[in-house]
């Protein structure tokens, strides 16, 4: 459980735009343990999906390393620099489930063809009957009735489509799955079904997840540890209970205070953030949150804070995290 599985070192992803470099992911380092779920939260446009895609190299990162532990020895392989041949093998180990089950399935392929695709392109089964069996068992695993195998995605509801997406990502027996907002396009009761399915699968096959979401209650429900992102950087990373009970970064504090409570008699302080998220294009060399932070001092506007371990296993990027603690 506590074994380190993925180590991300100084990962950067910049996009060239007309107005300059857009720092979508800016110097991010963290580790993921074997079998855990790392929640990745942040508001829209903070770079969480980009980070997720860089982790499995659907996007080529600008610099930095994503080190994935080898199966058989203690060595690591850097996904960002894997050759096309190595990448082909890696595709079987790292997978992704997409956010929008309406656009992530080819409308011209039937359910059967969609789930069989990863098996076909990777030549997993030479025997057709074997492949048929495998597809059927995958459908059963994710809870799709066998009679749906010749249906097309547009005939199915969002939850069933997302099940297809999950079956596709499971087809190659991966170890690590990036879940890119897998439930945000679904309605609430189907969200619960899919979350439980993902949980059951993790228990059964001991997958390692990165769960990307902007929904804090969902993330709290599924994650072992949570990383909070703001403008391309991780500002706080901690075990989930501690993050909710004892947030250290002012941005996390503001986020948590915005979760609605279903209690009428409880009054609590709400931190209202002033202003907008600054532009991610050529951001200043300072704390990115300084402009909206109620504790900001001069040092925040001149020196970017590093992600430091303030408490055991609790990292935060704030100059005044320690003072706040006291």
């Amino acid at each position: 459980m506590s074994e380190e599985y993925i180590r991300v070192e100084n990962l950067k992803k910049y996009f060239a735009t007309k107005r300059g470099m857009l720092h979508a992911v800016d110097d991010v380092s963290f580790t993921i343990k074997k079998g855990e779920t790392l929640g990745l939260v942040g508001e829209s446009g903070c770079g969480k999906s980009t980070l997720g895609r860089c982790l499995i190299r659907l996007l080529d990162s600008t610099s930095g390393k994503v080190l994935l532990k080898n199966d058989n020895d203690d060595g690591y392989i850097d996904i960002t620099k894997a050759s096309p041949r190595e990448m082909k093998a890696l595709r079987k180990r790292v997978q992704i489930v997409f956010q929008d089950p309406y656009s992530c399935l080819n409308p011209r392929l039937s359910v059967w063809e969609l789930i069989a695709e990863p098996l076909i392109v990777n030549n997993v089964h030479s025997d057709k009957n074997e492949m048929r069996k495998r597809v059927r068992s995958l459908m059963e695993t994710v809870g799709l009735a066998e009679r749906l195998e010749n249906s097309y995605p547009h005939e199915l509801d969002g939850g069933r489509r997302q099940r297809i997406g999950i079956a596709r990502s499971l087809a190659l027996n991966p170890e690590f799955i990036v879940l890119d907002e897998p439930v945000s396009a679904l309605d609430v009761c189907i969200q619960a079904q899919i979350l439980n399915l993902l949980n059951d699968l993790q228990r059964e096959f001991s997958y390692t997840y990165v769960f990307i979401s902007h929904n804090l209650s969902v993330v709290r429900h599924v994650s072992d540890r949570i990383a909070v992102m703001y403008l391309g950087q991780i500002v706080e990373l901690s075990e989930y209970k501690e993050l909710f009970s004892d947030p250290l970064h002012p941005y996390t504090q503001a986020l948590l205070s915005a979760i609605p409570l279903a209690k009428l008699d409880v009054q609590r302080e709400r931190i209202i953030l002033e202003g907008d998220v600054p532009s991610p294009i050529e951001p200043p060399n300072a704390c990115r949150f300084a402009g909206r932070c109620r504790y900001a001092k001069d040092i925040c506007r001149t020196t970017p804070p590093a992600l430091k371990e303030i408490l055991p296993g609790h990292f935060t990027a704030c100059h005044f995290a320690k003072e706040q603690k006291q």
């Binding site: 595709r91 997409f98 956010q99 992530c104 011209r108 009679r147 997406g165 596709r168």
Partner: protein, 293 residues
């Protein structure tokens, strides 16, 4: 036990995709009508020797400019040749030119368009600028230049008409590829490990079929007309060989006195194009699983 039995209606049988498409196509009466006409035309083209009542090139100066009669169903032309026989033989050339020229244009233009849409960037820029250059030359003029350079023959005619239509297809294919390429399911296919070639052939092309099918069916028509124009100025089919376009333009100078000479080749071309359009529309709908039932 009985509860566990599967209700037969719920289980859709697995048919081959081709049979599936054909079954759906068969449900459209217009498409079937178009298909029937095309079958008749192809039949005429193949068995022209057997079904045409006269030789298409033998002159009979005793029976010039005859209007339709029991002997000559569609009348005769300025050399007394039987128009029906010439139309039947002409189907051979016209269909060949229409389909093969469009085939050339579709394959070349489609590939160029798909590649430039998929890879974008510099390659896209180079390919599309070359297409722009070709597009800036009027299609007929371009075809004339090509056929003049290669020499007049049926094959060269088809090549010339085909190449002159390449930019149109390249642009259409590129456009639809661009819109499909940004869809999430392309990224999903890449995550599953699909190669670029597979993504283009299996995911992008099938989803960008609709405009391509429509353009191709229309394209057969304009290819036939283009070939006719080239035949008219002596760069295509050489007289006395029958060809619909050449017959049309040959009858043009007698149109006031003997309209039947232009009427029937014109009707033949129109009917072919109409049939192709019906078939194309039906095919476009049949290939789209969303429009099922």
């Amino acid at each position: 036990m009985s509860e566990k039995e599967i209700i037969p209606e719920l289980v859709r049988k697995r048919r081959s995709p081709f049979v599936d498409v054909m079954m759906r196509l068969a449900k459209s009466p217009l498409a079937m009508f178009g298909l029937a006409i095309i079958f008749v035309l192809v039949f005429c083209a193949i068995f022209a020797e057997l079904i045409s009542p006269y030789s298409p090139i033998k002159q009979d100066l005793m029976h010039m400019f005859e209007t339709p009669s029991a002997e000559h169903w569609l009348g005769t032309d300025e050399f007394g040749r039987d128009i029906l026989s010439r139309l039947i033989y002409g189907a051979r050339v016209s269909l060949q030119v229409g389909f093969i020229a469009v085939g050339i244009a579709l394959v070349t233009g489609g590939m160029l368009g798909a590649v430039s849409g998929y890879y974008s960037g510099k390659l896209d820029n180079i390919i599309m600028r070359v297409m722009d250059v070709l597009l800036s030359i009027p299609q007929t003029l371009l075809a004339i230049a090509i056929v003049a350079a290669l020499g007049p023959s049926l094959m060269n005619l088809m090549i010339a008409v085909g190449i002159s239509a390449v930019p149109t297809y390249a642009r259409i294919v590129r456009g639809s590829v661009l819109s499909i390429r940004s869809m999430e399911f392309i990224e999903a296919a890449r995550a599953a490990g699909s190669s670029d070639l597979r993504i283009i052939l299996k995911h992008i092309i099938p989803n960008s079929m609709a405009p391509i099918i429509v353009q191709s069916t229309l394209g057969v028509a304009s290819a036939i007309l283009n070939a006719a124009g080239l035949s008219f100025i002596g760069l295509g089919i050489q007289p006395p060989n029958p060809e619909w376009g050449a017959m049309l333009s040959g009858g043009r100078q007698y149109i006031r006195d003997y309209p039947h000479m232009t009427l029937y080749p014109g009707l033949a071309i129109m009917l072919t194009i109409l049939a192709l359009n019906f078939l194309g529309d039906g095919l476009r709908d049949a290939l789209d699983p969303k429009l099922k039932r």
